[in-house]
């Protein structure tokens, strides 16, 4: 890994990270703030006004009465797919395809650093920044819960929730990164980088609509992460994490391989 390049990435992309961290933190904070330990009923009432299918599709189908479950269903059920997805698409494009397209990547390669070293640095930054994003979310969630409802948050489960979501986002990020490494121009890199996660998202949403569409979920990566199942202990976090980690490793290796052999444009 190249330290100066890593520092440059931090400098270039911190604002982007902060914007997304702030947006997601505000959402999380508001969700924790509106939690009412005595009457989850109001929320359920509100949901009952909406068509059941829509509620299911949004992932709000079952609302757990505990604080952790409440956060898991409202925040880690739906929003967790959208915001990090957009972050991954933008960041992956900025790290590789944009510089390659503009030609400034050449000035990186005209230093005594191998292609592999440089592209690994870019990939590590992507993973590290997603890690930071979820660390911030964890801290905000923990802080808000302790402030408003001391002792009610199951910290261990909340940590598992964040770990799972973090690894899932990293996998999505690596998909985007792979396409960013594959293409020499930003347009196809953005198109395919967005197509895959948006496709996963649509499949996941459709699969929750009815029994007959449930099979679509099998093709979606997002289906592997079910916040509520983690809270209830139905799914094993180590299994999920392991699966995501394998995906991340494979995609990273593929991205590095593709980049180290390709022809860079003039």
């Amino acid at each position: 890994m190249s330290i100066p390049l890593f520092l440059k990435n931090i400098k270039n992309n911190t604002l982007l990270l902060l914007v997304f961290a702030a947006l997601m933190s505000i959402y999380l904070a508001v969700i924790i703030y509106i939690y009412d330990p005595n009457g989850i009923g109001a929320m359920v009432d509100m949901m009952s006004i909406l068509p059941t299918k829509l509620v299911n599709a949004l992932g709000f189908g079952t609302i757990d009465s505990g604080l952790t479950g409440f956060i898991a269903s409202l925040f880690y059920g739906f929003l967790i797919y959208l915001f990090p997805m957009v972050y991954c698409i933008i960041l992956a494009n900025r790290l590789v395809a944009k510089w390659v397209y503009e030609g400034s990547f050449t000035s990186l390669l005209c230093t005594p650093n191998s292609r592999i070293k440089i592209i690994v640095t870019q990939g590590i930054y992507l993973l590290a920044s997603i890690g930071v994003l979820f660390t911030i979310l964890f801290l905000v969630g923990y802080g808000m819960s302790e402030h408003f409802f001391p002792g009610m948050l199951d910290v261990k489960v909340f940590l598992k929730l964040n770990l799972g979501a973090c690894l899932m986002t990293m996998t999505i990020g690596m998909f985007c990164f792979f396409f960013s490494c594959l293409f020499n121009s930003t347009k196809p890199a953005l198109f395919f980088g967005a197509l895959i996660p948006v496709g996963f998202f649509i499949l996941n949403t459709l699969s929750k609509l009815s029994e007959r569409t449930a099979f679509l979920g099998k093709f979606s990566l997002y289906n592997a992460f079910d916040g509520l199942a983690i809270v209830t202990g139905q799914s094993s976090i180590s299994l999920i994490s392991g699966g995501f980690a394998v995906f991340i490793g494979l995609l990273f290796a593929a991205a590095v391989g593709v980049f180290s052999l390709k022809r860079l444009p003039v």
Binding site: P4, K8, S104, S107, C110, R263, V266
Partner: protein
């Protein structure tokens, strides 16, 4: 030392570079000329490891240009044709960044860098995005040279520079050459080749069509002089010493002399009363002009070659340096002698 052996890199059946063979020795400046799209930049980007050669081997100091690109970069300075820098960085910040990327941290010796900044009058305050393209090019030159590399790969380095900076840059190349650097200089400007290069290679449609020594090229070059005499000159004397001529009027002549026999011509003319003596300089540009004309195909080359050989007898060449003769005929088999072609045109 830069070495290319049978390097082929195809974009399509006609685009790319094909079977390139040439080498640039230490202490040598190799001029790399050719029309747009001939493949000069492709060759250079291949040398810099940005694209991989399909076939053949390209090495710099014995290191493979693709697999050992990072090792090569330690001792190489590259000025690309199109400058693309990190626009949002400040100039000082960028220079520090590149220095760190080269593995040098902390306050090391920046004497060479400061000297280059001063020499090329690079504005170090402000952001790169606000700089003119000429200034960006100068900044690229500084970054390419500030680590005192042994090999210089320059892709049209003076394009976009003002005449003063161009001249300073050429001086720098000459200095670097004297210090034993290996330089590959791609350019469209023949003055640059004439001023700095030892050898010149002409690339056309991805193939190297000429690769020759500037010194011997100079000797073979024909100089033309427009001379006005006060009285009809002694043509016998001029013929006797092997100079060709063309008569325009009673007193106006164009006299041709090989590049290495100008002194003899002076002596011959010193016996005449010369009113006007104008050099009609034939630059390298004229010699290479034919390679820039796309329509000249190999068949036409052959026709010209035959004409040239027919005409050869008409021009008195008896006093030509004998050692050049066999080389000449050998050359004519593959390509026309540029000098002869030009002479042809002139006669017409």
């Amino acid at each position: 030392m830069i070495e290319l052996k049978d390097v082929t890199l195809k974009y399509s059946s006609t685009k790319g570079i094909f079977n390139l063979n040439f080498s640039v020795e230490k202490g040598q400046v190799f001029g790399y000329v050719g029309p747009n799209d001939a493949g000069k930049t492709t060759t250079i980007r291949m040398l810099m490891g940005l694209i991989r050669a399909g076939r053949g081997s390209a090495t710099i100091d014995g290191l493979n240009c693709f697999s050992r690109a990072s090792a090569i970069q330690k001792n190489t300075g590259y000025v690309p044709e199109d400058v693309a820098l990190f626009e949002n960085m400040r100039v000082k910040e960028y220079l520090n960044f590149v220095t760190q990327m080269r593995g040098i941290f902390g306050q090391k010796n920046t004497r060479l860098r400061d000297m280059l900044i001063e020499r090329f009058e690079v504005e170090t305050r402000g952001k790169i995005e606000n700089m003119s393209s000429g200034m960006k090019k100068r900044l690229t030159i500084v970054t390419a040279l500030m680590h005192d590399p042994q090999t210089l790969v320059l892709d049209e380095p003076t394009s976009g520079l003002d005449p003063l900076m161009q001249s300073r840059f050429l001086d720098l190349i000459l200095e670097e050459k004297r210090r034993g650097k290996t330089v590959l200089l791609s350019t469209h400007k023949f003055e640059e080749v004439e001023r700095t290069c030892d050898r010149v290679g002409v690339l056309r449609e991805g193939r190297l069509v000429e690769n020759m020594d500037i010194v011997s090229l100079r000797a073979e070059e024909t100089k033309a002089y427009l001379v006005k005499f006060a009285a009809p000159p002694n043509l016998e004397q001029i013929k006797k010493y092997g100079f060709g001529y063309q008569q325009f009027s009673q007193s106006d002549y164009e006299i041709f002399s090989p590049g290495d026999r100008i002194d003899v011509l002076m002596k011959v003319l010193s016996h005449e009363k010369v009113l006007v003596f104008n050099s009609k300089n034939q630059s390298l540009e004229e010699i290479f002009q034919q390679h820039y004309k796309k329509e000249i195909k190999q068949t036409e080359f052959k026709n010209e070659e035959n004409n040239t050989q027919e005409n050869e007898g008409k021009i008195k060449r008896s006093e030509r340096k004998p050692k050049l003769m066999p080389k000449k005929t050998e050359k004519n088999r593959t390509l026309p002698d540029p000098e002869e072609t030009v002479r042809e045109v002139k006669k017409a």
